[in-house]
Structure formats: C-alpha cells, structure tokens
Symmetry: C2
C-alpha cells in the first residue's frame, strides 16, 4: 500500500510542512520506501519530482522539503510496492494531458485483477494504478466534453470510482489543476486551515509550524491525506465510499454511497 497527500488552497501555498511529515514515512516512520513523487500546479503548468529511492533519505525530497514551491493544487504519493516493480515508470503521480490541461493522478490501494479496456491513453509502467488512471481518462474523453460543468464530470468520476471500489481498494487523488477530486474506500482524512491560524505539530518528526506567521487572514488551505499528519489538530475522517471535490481550499461538491 501507499500513502497519499494533496493540497487545495485559495492562494499559492507551499507544501513544505506536510511534505516533511509524509516523507518521513518513506523508510523512517513508515514502510513506504519504494519511491515517491509530487506534482505542483503553477497556473496551467506542472512541476513534478519523481524518485524511485526512499523519500526519507532522498536528496531531492530534502530540496522539496526546504525550497518553498507555491501552488494552489499539489498531489504527492509515497509508495510501498505491491503491483509493479520498483522503478521510475511505476512512481506516482501519473500525468496525462486531456483537453489542453494536465491531469494528475495518485492512488492508494490495489485492484490486482484490473484489466483496462484498450483506449487512447496507455500505461507506460506496470502498475494497476496507472492502468486505472488511463481507464478513467479514456472514459472522460469518450463520454464527456471540454467545458462540461463540474457536476457532470464528477458524476462520471464517482460512477467509475464506485465500480473500481467494488474490485479492490481505491483511495484516489485526481486533479486537472482547477479542481481536486478525492475518493475514499478505506482511509482518507482532511483538514481545512483558515483564520484564526494556530500552531501544528507533525506526528512523524519533531517539527512544529505556526501557520499564523506564514499566512494572511484570507487564506484557506486544505490538506487531504490517507493518515493524519499532525497530532494537535482535528482531522475530518472520510467514510468508506465518500468523495469530495475541492476547489480553492473548500469542498464544493461531496457525496457518498
């Protein structure tokens, strides 16, 4: 299994604090040592870092922890391999272009018997996750249209996700840079930080941050993870089958089975 982290914010915000907590679990406080990756949207562009080495000891992860990259949407994944070798091609997040937007995907879980229908998008690596991502995009390209309202896209995504969830564990992060779709079958939690901001302490390493000193009163920043990252904040736990669509730090649509 793996761990997931995403951010949705109404102003470009760095992920240093949360990323520092998560990456400890990649070979130090957790067993997810089979690679890691993170993608930051900046406008319509993305910048990604992928590494098949353990995040807890990665020189590149250290740079991402300490070099503030400001983003309104970011998606991060640390891997404990089950399906697919440990190699760069199997390292999440996966990225494809659809309708002139980069779509970014990370998955926790396993659908080991999943067989994708042939389609335009094809996996490069050998994970079930990348095959699922290609299947989702092939479905969207076939059944939806550029400029469809969020409600329409989400209806299709929820139907796909419910179907995958019947075949295995499918905790999902998916974004096109404007919105972030999250779906839980077994574990996901979120926190929304807004004024008045307070301090927070990471669970996985001795780091505390005072968000008050790093924010303005209008900032709204949400973090979505498979396991809560801090010990002194109240995280909102997803129910199995629950999904939430995030935009600019807030839930704009949600539902469940």
């Amino acid at each position: 299994m793996c761990e997931l982290l995403a951010m949705s914010a109404n102003t470009p915000t760095d992920l240093c604090f949360s990323f520092t907590g998560l990456t400890r679990r990649g070979g130090e406080t957790g067993p997810h040592k089979d690679g890691w990756g993170v993608t930051f949207y900046e406008g319509k562009g993305v910048r990604s870092f992928h590494d098949p080495d353990p995040s807890a000891s990665s020189r590149i992860a250290e740079v991402v922890q300490t070099h503030p990259i400001k983003s309104e949407v970011a998606i991060c994944h640390i891997r404990q391999a089950n399906v697919g070798d440990i190699c760069l091609a199997n390292t999440h997040p996966f990225i494809r272009e659809l309708w002139g937007q980069y779509w970014v995907f990370a998955h926790n879980g396993q659908l080991s018997d999943f067989q994708a229908e042939p389609g335009f998008y094809e996996p490069v690596g050998t994970t079930d996750s990348e095959a699922l991502f290609c299947d989702m995009l092939n479905h969207l390209r076939q059944h939806c249209h550029r400029g469809d309202p969020a409600e329409t896209l989400v209806e299709h995504l929820v139907e796909l996700a419910n179907n995958y969830a019947r075949q295995g564990v499918f905790n999902l992060l998916l974004s096109n840079g404007e919105r972030l779709f999250t779906y839980c079958t077994t574990k996901m939690a979120s926190i929304t930080r807004r004024a008045p901001f307070g301090p927070a302490r990471l669970k996985d390493t001795d780091v505390t941050v005072d968000f008050e000193s790093e924010t303005t009163p209008d900032d709204i920043v949400s973090v979505i993870v498979t396991e809560p990252l801090t010990t002194d904040e109240k995280w909102d736990i997803y129910q199995p089958g629950e999904w939430r669509l995030w935009r600019k730090g807030e839930v704009v649509l949600s539902g469940g089975r």
Copy 2:
C-alpha cells in the same frame, strides 16, 4: 531563442558536467534566463525538472548539477522567451505519452505563425514549440503504427521537420526513450566520447572533468547541443537541414536536405 542539450549513451551516464556548462548560459554567460527544464529517461520512466526561474541561480538546477542522475537519454532546454509568457506551462521539455512510451520534446527557434491542425494532443501552454510537438505526435498517431521500424518513423519526422523548417527556425530534440531524433536548421553540434577518454574544459565556467576516471572502456556517450560546451574538444557541426538519429551514443541513421 533558446539553447538545447541532449545526451545519448550506451550505459546510464550522468549529465552533471554538460548541464553545469549549459545552465551558466541561463542568466550568467548567456541571456537564456526565462526558465529551464531537463528530462531524464530511466528505463521507460522519466524524471523531469522544470523551473521558470533562471537556471544560473536556480536552487533546483544546483541539485541537478551536483546530484548524478544516470540516464541513457536526456533532453535539456534553457529558454529565452519569444512566443509565450514566462511561466511553467511554457517551459520545455514537453512530454506526452504515445503507444505506451513517454515522448519528450525540446525546440529552439520560432515559427510564430504556426497553426496546428486540431488533433488529439493539445498544447497546455501558449508556445509555438508545444503546438509543434502536439502536431508531430498527432501526425505520428494518425500515419504510423506501434512497432513501425525506426526508418519509417524517421521518414515521417524528417518530412514534418522539413516542412516546419520552411516556416521558420526549427532546431529539434525528440526522443521516445529508445532513440533520439535531432534536426538542425541553424545551429547544432555533437560530440561522441569513447575510449581513450580524456579531459575536457567547459567554455562557460571554470570546470574541468577527466572522463577517463568516470567511465569504463566500453562507454560511448554523445552530447548534442546548439552551441559547443567545451573549448578543448572537436565538435561535429550539423549542416542546415541535417538530421541524425541517435541510439546508445551512436548515429544510426542520418541525412539532410
């Protein structure tokens, strides 16, 4: 205009020396300060670094200079913007998946009136370069097939490139991870290093390397650039209209107008 750098090698090799020379030109010894990017193939996977900041002062570029990432094919670009704003979405190399392979593209030049036919692949940013890349992949997808021999693919690529070259400046690097296609309209040069290896000195900064100590006798490593990077080696200058297909450090097909 911009500058390009690529590597083709028969064994995973790092790009630190050449990358250090090139990135000096991004705001220090050259005016190409409007972002930079590099993509390394590792097997079928890729890892990319993209930054809209000047490469000469980029913290992330510093990591890539000093952290050896071993690859058989790498493509790098430093940008001096002409068409398209300075932003991440306009930062080369551009990447798309075709036939289950990542295709990576970087371009030097300008075809400011270029209008791509609508197709499956669409640009995310606003550069003529990304529109050209999408046009090439749309053509390949429509007219070629998975598993076509290199000769067939190259025939199509050369025809496309000759056509673009009639409309402006089109110096090109394009790879699918197996092969590297290079095309010159105005400036490109290559060097192939093999045993007996010797020392080399960068033109843009006071760095010397002794390749003898970093290689084995079987290594073949070629570097392709828009402007030679070293002062004490003999670079092989491309003619206008000349193209070369590289594989494992050697030219396997070539031609010209």
